[in-house]
């Protein structure tokens, strides 16, 4: 009896407190959100995700694109404030306007002409900067195909329980977004990259947010499940900047991002505001373009998706009810464990891998092996002979 008593365990239980509150009334014009307006709809919604990731991309260089960098840094500040750790944020900035000689306020980036909030601050971690922001790196980041020497901070290590926010800004056109003035990413590339993420379950849900001209065209080709997309303008529309800082001489933020931030600034970790609420605040007369929202691939009702599901990190928790009993008399008491060694077949894997642990020239230039190069391929040789004979033949004739 006594024994049984000692061994009776209590089942562990889990507490998940996710109360979804939804806003039922539609707000036509923009006004400052008020907590008290929200109505609890009585449904309990629970998110499946355990961690949050954010990929924030600015694709344009140069001083006059100051506003794009301010856009991205504003979102960066928001997600960080809402609890996504720097290790889970991948920030891509194509230029460093803070240290641009034309910047009157050195080492700062402001998103407002009043210059109250320095976005650059003292604690930002840029993962891809300058010319590292390329289409290739962006695709590699999403699909997870990195060179082996890529540091952890440059990788998107999300899993099947991750909610991922992908925010992009830059100059774009119909079905493409320009990177760095030199190349562009098409909507097909984005769609294929998302599909490959889904194939390997690298996200649970994904919010794709893009502030560029003709933004909606960028997510028109996306076909993978559980993706929610929103953009600043419809296909055929331009997106506009919000206002100019006369002292800097450039526009400091784009309209779409500005009005998103108006809402996001009032969101706290405990806030129960939903994405539907955020989308309802979009006002065409203020943004000057019609924001696009695509939710046909997304399963959950937008009324139940909290803003913090993507822009913040709220952890589910589980109370621990007991420890696992261990018996150790003193610090030198280390029980011995018999190892039954089994031949691991890892050598074959290592042999295959041996050649690519260090990124070799093969990714950049062709390595020529002097012994083999002469007889690389008979076809090449044949072509060469034909070419030479042709030339000789012709020169003979001409002479």
């Amino acid at each position: 009896m006594k024994l049984l008593h000692n061994y009776i365990y209590i089942f562990s239980f889990v507490i998940l407190f996710f109360i979804s509150i939804c806003r039922s009334e539609y707000s036509s014009g923009f006004h400052f959100p008020n907590e008290r307006e929200e109505i609890i709809d009585g449904f309990f919604s629970k998110s499946r995700h355990t961690n949050n990731w954010a990929v924030l991309v600015d694709t344009s260089r140069y001083w006059f694109n100051y506003r794009h960098i301010a856009n991205v840094l504003s979102i960066y500040r928001t997600v960080k404030r809402l609890g996504i750790p720097d290790s889970n944020i991948i920030l891509m900035l194509a230029d460093d306007v803070a240290c641009n000689p034309r910047n009157r306020f050195q080492a700062t980036v402001y998103n407002n002409a009043e210059r109250k909030l320095d976005l650059y601050g003292d604690n930002i971690e840029v993962d891809y900067r300058g010319y590292e922001v390329t289409v290739e790196n962006f695709i590699r980041l999403l699909t997870g195909r990195h060179l082996p020497d890529t540091p952890r901070s440059k990788r998107l290590l999300s899993d099947d329980r991750s909610n991922v926010l992908v925010y992009m800004t830059g100059h774009g056109g119909e079905e493409f977004l320009k990177f760095q003035d030199t190349e562009e990413i098409s909507s097909y590339d984005v769609a294929d990259a998302f599909e490959q993420m889904w194939e390997k379950r690298r996200y649970n849900e994904l919010l794709f947010m893009i502030d560029t001209c003709q933004a909606s065209s960028m997510f028109s080709r996306v076909y993978s499940p559980n993706i929610l997309a929103t953009g600043s303008s419809q296909t055929g529309q331009n997106s506009y900047s919000h206002h100019l800082d006369p002292e800097l001489g450039v526009a400091v933020i784009d309209r779409y991002t500005y009005y998103n931030l108006e809402t996001l600034e009032y969101v706290t970790l405990q806030s129960q505001k939903t994405l539907q609420y955020l989308f309802n605040t979009y006002d065409v007369s203020l943004i000057h373009s019609t924001p696009g929202i695509r939710h046909d691939l997304f399963e959950r009702n937008l009324n139940k998706v909290l803003i913090t599901d993507f822009f913040g990190a709220v952890y589910n928790i589980e109370l621990t009810l007991k420890g696992y009993k261990l018996s150790r008399s003193n610090e030198n008491d280390i029980p011995l464990i018999q190892h039954n060694t089994i031949d691991d077949n890892e050598e074959t894997l290592n042999r295959i891998n041996n050649n690519d642990l260090i990124p070799k020239n093969e990714y950049k230039m062709i390595k020529i092996r002097s012994k083999r190069s002469a007889k690389v391929s008979p076809i090449f040789l044949l072509g060469f002979v034909a070419l030479i004979s042709g030339v000789i033949f012709m020169s003979k004739i001409v002479n």
Binding site: Y9, R145, R155, D189, T320, E331, I342, I379, G383
Partner: protein, 615 residues
């Protein structure tokens, strides 16, 4: 002079022919060379074999379980051992088809699903083979005078390195009120304590319980593959959410967070403690996953939460409510990320609240103090709040506090429990409804290793199935990817890895019916690693989207100007030859011929000028 001129003209005609011929020759040889040399290299992957694993029927995994019934001689003498063995085997055979039963229903629901094989759970079965032995090492009443615990377990263990599961039949205390007691030991032992040793009784109290244990395991494995997105808070869903995905390496970070360094300076004997408390556990699991352990101390760890104050019944304390604990992690300021490796990190935090908020407790959902003061964050790690530092102590002068080996004992026990559940180690548990009437079960624990042999085997089998399924899915995704992107380079290395993964899959299925779980697991692990390496290889990033129209746009300006004059000249040349032939056969007049030649010369110069313009 005229004769010379004629000769010269004749010579020119043949020259012209040679020039055209040479250009055409270069052109015709050049095109295949250009085509061949600009082609991307694509190693041919074994699509057929990959396809084979997509078939859900190929993923039928049947584990064979060897059970040994061990009877002490004093019981065995009254029982016909052979008939007992047969009857038990028969009883197991009746219900042997755990896997098949479930699959009939699941197949119907998933056939119409298009999201290929992700919705299929694999078919898993267990087949039992039984043998019965007798032993004279102990009597049936050995349990009467001893405490049934780990030591008793060790005492009865015949061979620790066996792959058999042993079922011991022993005598139950007369005073016991239950019909039968069961003790599930740590070394693959299943002990049943009975008062009456009839054959019928032995079968009645062992077979259903053992079967039930494997049924639970089966449903646990199956549930880890289903992807429902409904909003129920089922036990499986919570378990799936909590458990880390399999990785061959994990990095574990033990952190000591001090709320306010002005109150105490702290230190802990963490190295010794990990070596002693966790070392054996890590060793035991080392062939499943390896663990890199680091530790750190951080001062000034401020909480993003403010604790509430309670002062009923003179018991003054601060507390945090369970629903607020989701915000406990101060991710902006607490440095928990490791830049070193890409292995999944597991965090364990011992938090010391500042003096002004001590003692700090956790309230559960009913508003009562949680005894352990600890909680777990799924796929993240575990947190223990130290409750022993309290503000009633008068030792303000004593600023230093060192957590000794002994102090850390309860904390390490909590961390271990959290780590076990994060790694997906399930305790063997029966619901009262699963058991025969009036049977009580004692669950053994392993206080040395931290994991019992039963649990280790279950974990192994679960991870094996998951790895095999993930490996075949990854290969499928890879085949799909390579098939859909025609411009992607596929290196030989990728093919080698795919071949190796397929070989491992093949071997694993060959071995899976044997009892060497460790070997099968290693095959499955290698298959997974190889397939993932192939899939995530850096060379597998294809050329960007490049539609055919763009290709035409690029090559047209090059080929069109070259090809038009070339074709025209050739056409003209043929025309002329035809004409010449006709003339030489029909006309005999020389003057006419010479006239023709003059004409020809003119046309030749024309065509040549076209040629020069074109090139």
């Amino acid at each position: 002079m005229r004769r010379e001129r004629e000769l010269y003209e004749k010579h020119q005609v043949s020259n012209r022919l040679h020039i055209i011929g040479a250009i055409w020759l270069v052109f015709l040889i050049g095109i295949p060379i250009w085509w061949k040399t600009t082609e991307v290299y694509r190693a041919s992957l074994p699509y057929k074999e990959v396809q084979k694993w997509q078939d859900p029927n190929s993923l039928y995994i049947n584990f064979s379980i060897q059970l040994s019934y061990i009877l002490p001689n004093d019981i065995a003498k009254d029982i016909n051992i052979n008939s007992l063995n047969e009857n038990i085997q028969e009883e197991f055979n009746k219900k042997n088809i755990i896997g098949n039963n479930n699959d009939n229903t699941q197949d119907n629901t998933s056939t119409d699903d298009d999201d290929f094989e992700y919705t299929y759970p694999p078919k898993i079965g267990f087949s039992f083979s039984v043998n019965t032995k007798t032993t004279d090492k102990w009597n049936s009443n050995i349990a009467l005078t001893r405490n049934i615990d780990e030591n008793f377990d060790d005492l009865l263990t015949l061979d620790t390195d066996t792959d058999e599961y042993n079922v011991y039949i022993l005598k139950q205390k007369e005073t016991s009120k239950s019909f039968a007691d069961v003790y599930i030991g740590k070394n693959k032992q299943f002990m049943i304590f009975l008062k009456d040793f009839s054959e019928e009784n032995i079968i009645k109290y062992t077979v259903p319980i053992i079967l039930n244990m494997f049924e639970n395991e089966h449903s646990d494995i199956i549930s880890s593959f289903t992807e429902e997105r409904d909003e129920n808070e089922s036990k499986e869903e919570i378990r799936k959410m909590r458990t880390f995905k399999y990785a061959s390496n994990y990095q574990i970070l033990y952190s000591l967070f001090n709320g306010n360094v002005n109150d105490y300076t702290v230190n802990w004997e963490i190295e010794k403690s990990i070596k002693s408390y966790f070392g054996p556990f890590f060793d035991t699991l080392s062939f499943i996953s390896k663990f890199d352990v680091t530790s750190q101390i951080q001062n000034f760890a401020t909480l993003p939460l403010t604790a509430k104050y309670s002062n009923d019944n003179d018991n003054k304390y601060y507390y945090l409510e369970a629903k607020d604990l989701g915000h406990f992690i101060n991710s902006a300021e607490w440095n928990l990320a490791s830049p070193v490796s890409t292995a999944p990190p597991i965090n364990f935090i011992l938090y010391i609240p500042p003096y002004s908020q001590s003692p700090l407790y956790i309230h559960d959902s009913k508003g009562e103090i949680l005894e352990t003061n600890a909680f777990l964050i799924p796929r993240w790690g575990g947190i223990v709040i130290d409750k022993n530092r309290n503000n009633t102590m008068d030792n303000i002068g004593e600023h230093q506090y060192i957590y000794s080996f002994k102090d850390l004992h309860p904390i390490m026990e909590l961390f271990l429990d959290q780590l076990r559940s994060l790694l997906g180690i399930n305790e063997i548990k029966f619901l009262p409804t699963d058991l025969p009437r009036n049977v009580r079960v004692l669950y053994g624990t392993d206080s040395k290793r931290g994991i019992t042999a039963w649990e280790l085997d279950q974990l192994l089998r679960k991870r094996t199935v998951q790895n095999l399924v993930n490996a075949s899915r990854t290969l499928n995704s890879l085949a799909k990817l390579v098939g859909s992107l025609r411009n992607m380079v596929v290196k030989d290395k990728i093919k080698d890895k795919v071949d190796f993964a397929l070989e491992c899959l093949e071997n694993a299925y060959k071995e899976v019916n044997g009892r060497n779980y460790k070997q099968v697991f290693l095959y499955s692990k290698n298959a997974l690693i190889a397939s993932e390496e192939a899939f995530f290889d850096p060379t597998m990033v294809s050329m960007l989207y490049f539609p055919d129209e763009h290709k035409y746009a690029v090559y047209m300006p090059l080929f069109l100007p070259i090809s038009v004059p070339l074709a025209l000249v050739l056409k003209e040349e043929f025309k002329k030859r035809k004409k010449n032939k006709k003339q030489s056969s029909t006309s005999s007049s020389k003057s006419e011929e010479s006239n023709k030649n003059v004409n020809e010369k003119e046309s030749t110069s024309e065509s040549q000028s076209i040629e020069t313009n074109g090139s």
